[in-house]
């Protein structure tokens, strides 16, 4: 019924664009108009019950996409549907179907106890009493909000406030939950808690989750599918493992030897840096580290080692460089 567009797209974007007109002062009474393509012809579909990560560096266009999906921003071009609804035309109708959490903003009432904000949601979304109570109890339990309900929001820590905001977004049983940088600024424990909650929510309720982040671990621990956006363009859409291949990313093995030695020979890994007895070896992210470590341990006096994951910025930078190369190839 909701998947009106066929092909299972509960959320469906077809060549969606958002162009901002930015006016910049260039002198007294003079200004210059410039266009910023925040989202540049993006197409994707998300099926009901999927958990998708939307990742990209700062200014990539993540928040702009989320805002269009909530209806608070109108696309400049393309077609956009969420649960069969055109978000910007029927923002209020859509509001009952979606939950939204903006990491850097809050829907909670600043100087009042947390529970007051929830009572407001109860009225605002006209949640039947029994359902409100059941959902609240569940969120309180899973997000560990029991001791916080009577605390004014301004006294909550960032992590506590984020958990409070997530609960507020879920009391009306939305089909879709959008989270824009839900873990930004949180400590490790709070991050882990938020991630675990999202996994449970998806498993138990089948809630479709779309989260933006620039933290690769959010995606690793929560989402099976990842979309990479940079400069408003979709660079990759698929499983996380494939992302590393697509970016031909490399992991780094840091090896501490008993003494200074010439560079280790262990193809396909290659030494990229030597500093006294410590050596850095790069190897393809698609390769397993275990055999490599075994081989080095057998041939060298190994004292200590650690493996560093590729960071997303590097992966994306590499992907982007390759795409740019493709375009150049097309021209010449």
């Amino acid at each position: 019924m909701d998947d009106v567009d066929g092909d299972g797209g509960f959320i469906r974007l077809d060549r969606v664009e958002k162009v901002f007109q930015v006016r910049r002062k260039t002198g007294f009474l003079r200004s210059e108009r410039r266009e910023v393509r925040a989202v540049d012809s993006i197409s994707f579909g998300v099926a009901r019950g999927e958990m998708v990560g939307y990742i990209g560096p700062n200014g990539a266009g993540k928040s702009t996409t989320i805002k269009m999906l909530t209806g608070i921003l109108t696309p400049s071009g393309g077609r956009l549907r969420v649960a069969g609804i055109d978000p910007s035309r029927e923002r209020t109708r859509l509001a009952h179907r979606i939950g939204v959490v903006f990491g850097q903003r809050t829907t909670l009432w600043w100087d009042l106890p947390l529970i007051d904000s929830y009572r407001l949601m109860h009225r605002m979304y006209r949640i039947p009493d029994a359902r409100y109570r059941a959902n609240l109890d569940r969120c309180v339990e899973l997000l560990d909000l029991g001791d916080l309900l009577d605390v004014p929001v301004r006294q909550l820590s960032l992590g506590q406030r984020m958990r409070g905001d997530i609960a507020a977004a879920l009391l009306h049983d939305p089909d879709v939950l959008y989270l824009d940088e839900p873990t930004i600024g949180l400590d490790v424990i709070s991050k882990a808690r938020v991630r675990e909650f999202l996994r449970d929510l998806n498993a138990e309720r089948g809630t479709t989750v779309l989260l933006t982040t620039h933290d690769l671990q959010d995606i690793e621990q929560v989402c099976r599918r990842v979309m990479v956006i940079d400069h408003g363009r979709l660079m990759y859409d698929g499983p996380l493992a494939g992302l590393h291949e697509a970016g031909e990313s490399e992991r780094t093995l840091v090896v501490d030897l008993a003494r200074e030695l010439p560079p280790i020979e262990a193809a396909p890994a290659r030494v990229v840096k030597v500093e006294g007895p410590r050596q850095w070896l790069a190897f393809p992210a698609s390769e397993s580290a275990a055999p490599l470590v075994a081989r080095i341990a057998a041939a060298y006096p190994l004292v200590d080692l650690s493996v560093r994951e590729p960071d997303i910025e590097a992966v994306i930078a590499k992907m982007y460089a390759e795409r740019a190369g493709e375009y150049e190839g097309m021209v010449s």
């Binding site: 901002f20 921003l73 109108t74 939204v100 903003r105 829907t107 009042l112 009225r123």
Partner: protein
């Protein structure tokens, strides 16, 4: 029905938010009382010089002082209500959060402001008025119907006050310095509400204009209803007309601003 309960909850929240700041309330009561005393002695000197100035006798003039002190915070005459917060939300872009909720922006802030006003009527209005009534001879009416009419005029004045401040706050979508606009509006409020001096004492065209401006609905008009110096119905019509006109203007500006946020991203 459902909508009514939402805005009732928002109003209750508005009441409680202000109720949490007890020290600020106590300081406000103190300020209103001291300010009332200063004005009271000034008025006594004035009315000694010119009895029946502005058509009031001295007891009426003193009643004017203490009622206007009681209404000062209620009416947010000098600003300092919801508008600072709304301006801040516009400036930071948090206003976007308000837009995806299934609630109306103007009604939401109106409900919250009425809740605030009710708290300030009780928390900041009663004590200065009782103090004034004990310390001076006031011309307070005995007829409960007059008090009822006064409360209706206060409610209408409050809606006018809200509508003005809502317009001013929305200007922050276009102005670099939204708070500056709010301060300017606060200055107009101080002067044109009749808070410093009854508008009746201003002669000629200046007085005519001052009495016709919406700010007179905040203090001058309700006090005149209490003092029996103005027709009740005429006052309600005056206040109601301004309330409707300004709320409608607020609606228009709200939809223009919303379109701007939705299209240009703020």
């Amino acid at each position: 029905m459902g909508t009514g309960r939402l805005y009732a909850a928002v109003a209750a929240g508005g009441f409680r938010r202000y109720a949490t700041y007890r020290a600020a309330t106590a300081a406000g009561v103190f300020t209103n009382t001291v300010f009332g005393l200063i004005l009271a002695y000034t008025y006594i000197a004035l009315w000694d010089e010119k009895p029946r100035l502005g058509g009031y006798d001295q007891a009426q003039a003193l009643t004017y002082v203490w009622i206007s002190q009681a209404l000062l915070a209620v009416m947010s005459t000098m600003g300092g209500g919801f508008e600072d917060e709304l301006i801040e939300r516009i400036r930071t872009g948090d206003i976007a959060v308000d837009l995806y909720r299934p609630a109306d922006l103007q009604l939401w802030w109106l409900a919250g402001d009425l809740g605030r006003a009710l708290f300030q009527l009780l928390g900041r209005g009663v004590v200065p008025l009782v103090f004034g009534a004990l310390a001076f001879e006031l011309a307070l009416p005995g007829d409960p119907l007059v008090w009822l009419a006064f409360l209706v005029a206060v409610l209408l004045g409050l809606v006018v006050s809200f509508a003005i401040r809502f317009l001013v706050a929305l200007a922050a979508f276009w102005l670099m310095d939204g708070l500056g606009a709010a301060q300017l509006a606060g200055l107009c409020g101080i002067f044109f509400s009749g808070m410093l001096l009854p508008l009746n004492v201003f002669p000629g065209a200046l007085g005519e204009i001052a009495r016709a401006l919406p700010w007179s609905a905040l203090i001058q008009r309700p006090v005149d209803v209490l003092l029996g110096e103005a027709g009740v119905l005429g006052t309600f019509v005056f206040q109601g007309a301004w309330a409707v006109a300004l709320l409608a203007a607020g609606r228009v500006l709200q939809s223009v601003a919303t379109r701007r946020v939705v299209v240009q991203g703020g």
